[in-house]
């Protein structure tokens, strides 16, 4: 087949897909209710998914990093495909054991963002007992118990990258927490060798894989090459052990069979799919199961699994034990076609990402924003939840990313305490520029109408909204909107068109009195606005967002928002 024919075929497929997408989107309403079920329940939209119900103890189940790599690279673990399932009827992620709406739904002060998950001020200064050394991970590390009895993982910076892993891990922890994920409490600490003593019974795994008692000489060896501060102390990241009993990690696909609370296949969870946007922003190419935790916690008398993200030491410019590899974020560890192309081109073909230029600063590593392109960004190997991120997931995430102000990001970088202030400024600039890029790209992949509200006007009840992309300054204000209405029978899901499509002047649409469908069992009536946007730069905004209004005794509220899922990586 000639290249022209290929292009033509692809174009045809694209056109059919686009057309079918409108139909599919219209049909997706079925997702919310089964036969005989109402489309909307009286408690919709729920903002709490109560997956923190009391469950019996769960046995530890450690995942294999090797298996994850092999399985995702050569097979793929996802068995469920389609849009996100764990969202409420507004398309939002309810609070759960996975995610707590923070900056995305509530205003946070910079102080609150900087405080993050912290409940103490870090390990108590004074003698620390070294209790062991974890097997997993690349970063040199050991565990300590402080005077309060709390256990911390002490992660050391490598000799060749002073301040790098510790700063990026702290910065990432604060950002992921503000977004809404569960993360450990991380603290930057400085300590002296004299503070440390080996706890009785402390054991460690040797380089040859065996286990033996830990000795002071081991500690000396680990600290020998660790960078020192000007005062001779050692800077490190102290990561407090998470509450509860760790019972393994979560996968980015499927559910955990021994956790009754775990209903949704993880590849269908919006917060895990949309995390790709945040991971791209923060260059978190190590976002994989092995860097997660499931902890069996007791909370208000209920015992359940809480799901944590952890180990951000390979974010931004860091590769944990050195600077991030230039390939990181741009190419999977194994991509057969690129290997073949690379080999047989005799070097005449080079990968695009080799053009990226990085600062010559060991405490920054390989991080930049000029070459970064959100749609090209990748993890180390395929990640089933990221792979299924659609435009609606990405919009959800981009909207949260847009909530981080420049000042907020500069303040977060400051607590990374890079001793080179110029480097600190550079990193903040890069974070801001990368945020701008992910917001600009992912906010515009779907029809970005948002902030739906009901107002009473002189002409009657009206639905107001705004264009999130225009508001964020990532699209010109040349967008116009048109609305058509359908009356919804909540019990059957049937929709009856009402009137003609009309322009929504000033992003306000009057609700026709005839738009309301029949009352359901609870006495509520529903009307659906199909709002499409027209913009010369984003023609796919013509695919409408469905906004469902509910009228019941308490008045009128917006109960449903469904936006086109679209194609997310059409430019990849």
């Amino acid at each position: 087949m000639s290249s022209k024919a290929v292009v033509a075929s692809l174009a045809a497929v694209f056109a059919v897909t686009l057309a079918a997408g409108v139909i599919v989107d219209a049909q997706r309403v079925e997702r919310w209710h089964g036969e005989g079920e109402p489309r909307f329940y009286t408690d919709d939209p729920i903002w709490i998914d109560d997956d923190r119900r009391d469950i019996p103890p769960v046995a530890p189940f450690e995942l294999s990093k090797s298996y994850e790599f092999v399985n995702e690279t050569f097979g793929g673990s996802a068995s469920s495909f389609g849009p996100a399932l764990n969202v409420n009827t507004l398309g939002e992620v309810p609070d759960s054991s996975w995610f707590t709406n923070r900056l995305g739904r509530h205003d946070m002060t910079i102080e609150e963002v900087l405080r993050g998950p912290d409940t103490v001020d870090g390990p108590v200064d004074g003698p620390w007992l070294v209790t062991g050394r974890p097997d997993a991970g690349l970063t040199p590390k050991f565990t300590i118990q402080d005077g309060r009895g709390d256990t911390y993982l002490i992660k050391l910076d490598p000799a060749g990258a002073p301040e790098l892993p510790s700063s990026v891990e702290l910065i990432s922890t604060k950002i992921f927490h503000a977004i809404g994920y569960q993360v450990p409490e991380d603290y930057l600490v400085t300590f002296d060798r004299a503070q440390l003593s080996i706890a009785p019974g402390a054991r460690m795994r040797t380089a040859s894989g065996g286990k033996r008692a830990m000795k002071a000489a081991d500690l000396d060896a680990w600290l020998a090459d660790t960078p020192r501060t000007p005062s001779g102390t050692i800077r490190a990241l102290a990561s407090r052990y998470v509450p509860g009993r760790v019972v393994g990690q979560f996968r980015y696909s499927g559910t955990r069979s021994d956790d009754p609370n775990d209903l949704y296949p993880h590849e269908r969870r919006r917060e895990l799919r949309g995390m790709r946007v945040f991971a791209a922003w923060l260059h978190h190419d190590d976002a994989r199961s092995i860097n997660s935790l499931d902890s069996y916690v007791t909370d208000n008398g209920r015992r359940y699994l809480r799901h944590y993200l952890q180990d951000f030491g390979s974010n931004l410019g860091s590769g944990s034990t050195s600077a991030q590899q230039p390939r990181g974020g741009y190419e999977y560890l194994i991509e057969g076609d690129k290997i073949a192309k690379g080999l047989f081109s005799f070097g005449l073909w080079t990968r695009d990402w080799t053009r990226a230029r990085y600062p010559a600063n060991a405490s920054l590593g390989n991080v930049e924003a000029a070459y970064f392109e959100p749609w090209k960004w990748k993890t180390e190997y395929p990640q089933p939840a990221f792979d299924q991120m659609d435009a609606a997931d990405a919009f959800w995430a981009a909207r949260i990313a847009a909530r981080f102000s420049d000042q907020m990001l500069r303040s977060i970088v400051e607590i990374g305490r890079l001793s080179d202030l110029e480097a600190s400024r550079y990193l903040a600039d890069v974070l801001i520029a990368r945020r701008d890029k992910v917001v600009a790209y992912w906010l515009t992949r779907t029809t970005p109408l948002d902030a739906f509200a009901i107002v009473e006007t002189g002409g009657g009840t009206a639905l107001t909204f705004e264009n999130a992309a225009v508001k964020a300054g990532v699209a010109s204000s040349r967008a116009t909107s048109r609305v058509r209405w359908t009356a919804l029978d909540n019990q059957t899901g049937r929709q009856t068109p009402i009137g003609e499509e009309t322009a929504a002047a000033g992003d306000v649409a009057l609700v026709p009195a005839s738009a309301w469908g029949p009352r359901d069992a609870s006495g509520a009536r529903y009307a659906v606005a199909w709002i499409a946007s027209s913009h010369p730069d984003f023609t796919h905004w013509a695919r409408p967002v469905q906004v469902t209004l509910r009228q019941r005794a308490g008045g009128i509220d917006v109960v449903g928002v469904e936006r086109p899922t679209g194609a997310t990586d059409d430019r990849r």
Partner: protein, 410 residues
């Protein structure tokens, strides 16, 4: 709210088909009135059948692999014991060896190694060293080794030697010595050492070809069969400006060493080695032109000759790769290599190379007319920052030779 088993099973069935609505059957006895109730019902259904996760066979195997730290054990050994290759010359056959290491990261260390090959090559060595003696940039090492190489090839001296004249001999050696390395600047090492060496030669064991004794006259094999012990004293300087010595892409390495071999009768010989390497990024680390020039000159003290087994050779894994190991040898040798390497993958480089070299009995006899050339292609396996192995396919006028080696050519 308690539910029937049927209801629980039906709800769980719905879970197995994500994205599909909850079945009507599940709601027959008590349809949920709210979203929360519906989710509760689904969680009740799952609770009834919750079971520990299971692993597939492959996952079990890889979990075991991870938990047993298989790679760490292979690479790091066991209680100080680890596998070694023995550093045998090409053609020694498949080898196996064991080493033991203790200490050495900062203080005194010791390493013992023993290895043998399918063709009867043997080597045993011990190295005791002290790094950064007294905190100064000085390393001191005491070394001893014994080896026996029973099938060393010999083709005769000079560029006129014939491929068909291949013979073999036994080379054994015992040596003991010490050396001191001073590193006054980053990348700069000055080394001096002395050692007692006791080389012996004899009939080779490779029956596919004649022994050196049968194939060559005594005048063509100076030192053959002699029992001479030497005191070797040497001094060298090595300036290493490579960006990453374990996997270089830029910079260079420049080394010169001079050694004096003196027997008890004050006879003996000198040997001088020059090795210059330069790595040129084109224009970045993803494409590199690696260049090397080496020269070895030997000269005998009055009335003596340089034993043939101490004369420099060309051919084999590191220079003139399209020729057999030891293919050319004489008192003096010069060789150059150019290798273009490109990154095909983060763990694999491709390479095309050309080697050229010549040997001669006198330095002034070295000339460009008698130059042997070989060329080829290769693959270099590496990690993010360290070389692992190479596979070269080398060609010359004498044929094709595949080479699998675990040390870089340069």
């Amino acid at each position: 709210m308690r539910r029937s088993l049927f209801s629980r099973l039906a709800l769980f069935g719905a879970l197995l088909m994500p994205g599909l609505p909850t079945t009507a059957a599940a709601q027959q006895d008590s349809a949920p009135a709210t979203r929360s109730e519906r989710l509760d019902a689904e969680r009740d259904a799952k609770a009834a059948t919750a079971a520990p996760p299971e692993r597939t066979t492959i996952e079990r195997a890889l979990t075991w692999y991870d938990n047993q730290q298989v790679m760490a054990r292979l690479m790091g050994g066991w209680h100080g014991f680890h596998g070694v290759g023995g550093s045998f010359p090409a053609g020694a056959g498949g080898g196996v060896g064991i080493g033991y290491s203790a200490g050495g990261t900062r203080g005194p260390g010791i390493e013992l190694t023993a290895a043998t090959t399918s063709r009867g090559y043997k080597r045993g060595a011990v190295v005791m060293d002290i790094r950064r003696l007294g905190g100064a940039p000085v390393d001191v090492a005491v070394r001893g080794q014994m080896y026996e190489f029973p099938q060393q090839d010999f083709f005769g001296l000079g560029m006129d030697s014939a491929q068909g004249a291949r013979a073999n001999y036994l080379l054994s050696n015992a040596e003991f010595g010490t050396d001191v390395t001073w590193r006054p600047l980053a990348g700069l090492a000055v080394q001096a050492g002395a050692a007692w060496v006791s080389p012996r030669t004899g009939a080779g064991t490779d029956t596919r070809m004649p022994t050196t004794e049968a194939g060559f006259s005594p005048s063509a094999t100076p030192g053959y069969g002699a029992s001479v012990d030497y005191l070797r004293t040497a001094i060298g300087i090595d300036y290493d400006r490579r960006d990453n010595p374990r996997h270089p892409h830029a910079g260079g390495r420049y080394a010169v060493s001079i050694a004096d071999y003196r027997d008890l009768d004050s006879a003996g010989f000198h040997r001088a080695d020059v090795d210059v390497q330069q790595y040129v990024p084109i224009p970045d680390r993803y494409r590199t032109l690696a260049l090397r020039a080496m020269a070895t000159f030997t000269s005998a003290h009055d009335g003596d000759d340089v034993p043939f087994f101490y004369q420099p050779t060309l051919g084999g894994a590191s220079m003139l790769r399209g020729f057999r190991e030891f293919r050319y040898q004489d008192r003096n040798a010069v060789g150059v290599s150019a290798e273009y390497r490109w990154e095909a993958w983060w763990a694999l480089d491709g390479a095309v190379f050309v080697d050229a070299g010549t040997v001669a009995p006198e330095r002034r006899s070295l000339n460009l007319r008698d130059v042997a050339v070989s060329y080829g292609v290769g693959l270099r396996l590496h990690s993010n920052d360290a070389f692992v192995a190479r596979l070269d396919f080398a060609f010359s006028k004498e044929g094709f030779i595949p080479l699998l080696r675990f040390e870089h050519v340069f």
